[in-house]
């Protein structure tokens, strides 16, 4: 059932691209608008009068969020990636109890503007939660070496050395809240999230145990966030 559905999605995407059964990189890239960072900052702070909530209420002005781990850090993530996620929330390709409703109210330029804003802010380091040595060792192994038995490559093979990301398409994980990472991994695992290329993340997450997932989150949260935004604007 799952396979059939994915074939259908692939075929639809191909038809949209105008090439029968042929997909191209070019055809899939969303058109990037010229983003207005100032306008993005306004939406982050105050939302819009047509019902878009202020992003900073949960994600904070500097993208560090509220420290609870329920909301992800956004600082240092590429505008391309943020924009894609918001568009996916809006289209239903990705779903979230809170974000789907917000994104559906956002105009295309709102999405571009707030994405540009958060891509450029410098986050605040947060203290890493305590973690048992064996759990950290497991997370380190999975993230940096992988697992032959489970046929899992190292997370860092795509998410970059020390979790710094392979921008713009692959997000950084360094410094991200472990609770958020674990929650998303579970979403991939259970098939509720599948908005990546080639079903890569679901395929990997299905082979991980709850313990593996927790360990991977703990490993990445302890890494320093990439200093991508060092010389950029501070809120």
């Amino acid at each position: 059932m799952k396979l059939n559905r994915s074939i259908l999605i692939g075929t639809l995407a191909a038809a949209t691209a105008g090439f029968l059964l042929t997909r191209s990189f070019a055809a899939e890239s969303p058109k990037t608008l010229k983003a207005d960072v100032g306008r993005g900052a306004e939406i982050v702070a105050s939302g819009t009068d047509y019902g878009v909530a202020a992003c900073a209420r949960c994600h904070a002005f500097d993208g560090t969020a509220d420290g609870s781990g329920a909301f992800p850090k956004l600082s240092g993530i590429s505008s391309y990636y943020l924009e894609k996620q918001l568009r996916d929330f809006a289209s239903g390709l990705r779903t979230d109890a809170i974000m789907s409703a917000i994104a559906r109210k956002m105009k295309v330029e709102d999405i571009a503007d707030v994405s540009e804003y958060y891509a450029g802010v410098r986050g605040t380091p947060t203290p890493a939660p305590p973690a048992a040595q064996d759990r950290l060792a497991l997370g380190t192994r999975l993230a940096t070496v992988g697992d032959e038995e489970k046929k899992i490559q190292a997370c860092e093979g795509c998410h970059g050395a020390a979790g710094r990301g392979e921008g713009p398409a692959i997000p950084p994980l360094a410094g991200q809240y472990s609770q958020y990472i674990a929650f998303q991994m579970r979403m991939w695992q259970m098939g509720y999230r599948k908005n990546d290329a080639n079903q890569q993340m679901g395929n990997i997450a299905r082979r991980l145990s709850a313990k593996d997932i927790e360990a991977i989150g703990l490993y990445f949260e302890r890494l320093p966030q990439k200093d991508l935004a060092k010389n950029k604007r501070q809120p």
């Binding site: 997909r23 899939e28 050395a161 080639n198």
Partner: protein, 589 residues
Amino acid sequence: MAEKLKPVDVVVVGVGFMGAIMAKELAAAGLTVVGLERGKKRWTVPEFQSPDIHDELKYSIRKGMMQDVTREAMTFRNNSSQEALPIRQWQAFLPGSDLGGSGVHWNGQTFRFTEADFVWHTRMQERYGKTFVDRNLIIQDWGITYDELEPYFDKFEYLLGTGGKAGNLNGKIQPGGNPFESWRSREYPNPPMKEQYGGVLFRKAASEMGYHPFVQPSSNMTRPYTNPEGLQLNACNYCGFCERYACEHFAKATPQTVILPVLLKNPNFELRTEAQVLRVNLDGHKKRATGVTYADATGREFEQPADLVIITTYALNNARMMLLSGIGKPYDPQTGEGVIGRNYAYQTTGDVYVFYDESVNINPFMAAGASGTLIDDFNDDNFDHGPHGFIGGSYIMSALTNGRPIEFHPTPPGTRDWGKEWKAAIRRHYNHTAHMLIHGSSMPTRTNYLDLDPTYKDAWGLPLLRVTFEFPDNDVKMTQFCVDRAVEVGKRMGAKTVAGYPRKPPFTTQKYQTTHNTGGVIMGSDPNTSALNRYLQSWQAHNVFVVGASAYPQNPGYNPTDTLGALAYWSVDAIKKQYLKKPGALVSA
């Protein structure tokens, strides 16, 4: 004195792609099998993980995955009047080593040979007459037909998880696929790869010119896949590190991802690594192999008795193993007699570069080993050769397998090749250049052949293989014609400058072309002109089977691996169904 080991049913020499397939099938049939691999063990985790696996200096430049030339080189010369010299660094072709062999660093390009290819000699005579083919060419039929092999192509492609679009399903031409391919019984197991931007531009131009573009069949996974052996592969993320590298993502079909884990779980199978096979031993009548002699990492020699010997050591090394063991009469170019070393062929490749202005971003780094869009209109016997005076052809493919910084430096003709001007040109053209690969056939001649070198020896004191090769006139004409066609497509692609580079003699080992060496231990229906019968069984020693592109009487314009996998399954099927019941010659000479 070699230490004699306990006899086993089967010894497999070389545990690469074909060795793993043969061993897996025979162990599953209940036979005790020993696999002797000269190299070391290696796995996706930990050996193939990044960042090490993306070390371009180590793998692309220093050829980190290839046969160790300080221990085992080959010698080369262009013709018999020259003295052959050892190849000290692999450049033209790259024979792999270690567990999984060249199957680890291949690109995943997965083409079937066509119906015409297997009856090439007959087909050329029928279509073009008895005097059309250059008399210096010694083309032959294979002794097998495409229809016989089709089920085995299918089996191999499903093992690999090949992604593509059928062009001919049971005789019905399918839109979107290659209309020139021979029939296939069902679709590919996976959809085609994404098309690169250069491919999009190529597709448009080629379509406008009336050609038939399609996406290259690829064994880089286009989605997660579980193969019939129950092994799971992950989707490719187009990182551009396929050829010369191992895949870190479990996303390229390699022995490690599609078969070895199953083989190693079978208790009937034993893998011995760092085991250098020195020769196949024969009985007093030289009609039957008794096993092999090998040296371990310390140089200690062992004799491994076996009832069946399978040689799967890469095309060139297969020929050497037969010569070192005295199985089959060595080919003599003076008399044309002898079977080992004859019909050595290569691949005739050319390049076309399409230089755009800076508004066209090609993004060469968004690539996989087998991503590409191509036309087959000028390949094989897909067009009338009558007016052109040559046989064979090439596919023309818009493909960039990588944008790696040390290797990828496209500059237009006339650019200085050093200094400031060169660097500026690379910056200017790096992201704005499309490339076409012209991948063509290679026809065997009387004078191109393989034998043992009279002078140079390997680390074990055994003579090196000597390669004598020059591009035949036929192939030079062929590749010029195909490059000319590609240049026309390139101009249609809307570029500022199009530069074509057809391959010209002399052949040099110093420039990378392709690892597709073929022939030397060919299959056929006549023991006077072939070393193996149609089941890849030695005409001379019935319990020796030689699996490799060494079996190809000539090399068509397609990449060789798919046909090789089909032949391996075909051969092992004959062993299981016929040979084991009644050991002996499967075809009477």
